[in-house]
């Protein structure tokens, strides 16, 4: 899987991992875990406190899209561990760009990751395949900026 050419391992907070209940996502996640390419991060008290603070900060700011608890936890863990956070939700990315307490957290969405993996015609094909497989649509503005729309 190409993603592992960028990252050796993926870490999923338990709050996020526990939401994978159905097939084929469940078997896929377990297979990655068995290969130790996916690690489940247990709930940690130190991260809980930061996640709660993030929930308060983001959800109290009407200019930011709301953040949900698993996403806040993942963002807090990324901040504390110094790892990038991979998510397609806009809220963590915007929070990391606007809130002083989250400065320095790298938040990447699918388009960022695909752009890191591919370029030119290969990127165009990868975006098309990804959209067909997942039903995810990308910002027309960002695609134009990348020269693929």
């Amino acid at each position: 899987m190409d993603l592992f050419s960028l990252y050796n391992r993926l870490l999923a907070p338990f709050a996020v991992f526990s939401e994978i209940k159905r097939e084929p996502a469940r078997s896929f996640a377990f297979a990655l875990a068995a290969e130790r390419r996916l690690l489940v991060v247990p709930r940690l008290e130190a991260v809980d406190a930061l996640a709660l603070r993030i929930l308060e900060l983001v959800n109290a700011d009407p200019s930011l899209p709301p953040i949900d608890p698993p996403e806040a936890y993942a963002l807090a863990f990324a901040k504390r561990a110094g790892y990038p956070l991979l998510t397609d939700n806009a809220s963590p990315k915007l929070a990391s760009l606007t809130l002083e307490e989250l400065r320095g957290v790298e938040v990447l969405d699918s388009l960022d990751v695909l752009r890191l993996l591919y370029s030119g015609e290969t990127l165009f094909k990868a975006l098309k395949e990804f959209t067909e497989d997942t039903g995810v649509r990308f910002s027309a503005r960002r695609l134009r900026e990348l020269g693929v729309a």
């Binding site: 159905r22 709301p66 397609d88 915007l94 606007t98 649509r137 910002s139």
Partner: protein, 76 residues
Amino acid sequence: MKDLLERYREELEWARELRRKEADWSYIESRPEPLRTALKLLVETGDLWYAAALTGIDLEELNEERVRAKIPLVVV
């Protein structure tokens, strides 16, 4: 910073319009409650977790319904 927030606001509104436009409304209206409300919430917010949590529907079930209702997940 103001420009960044303004840009995101525009993008989020564009995403909402796209979801409204592409959703299969006859499918959504045909679903029983609370699924129907969850799908409508998803169209308006784009937030799968929120729509699932608020209506008590399993996240993955709602995602499967999202695909059937042709509601795109939009990355802005």
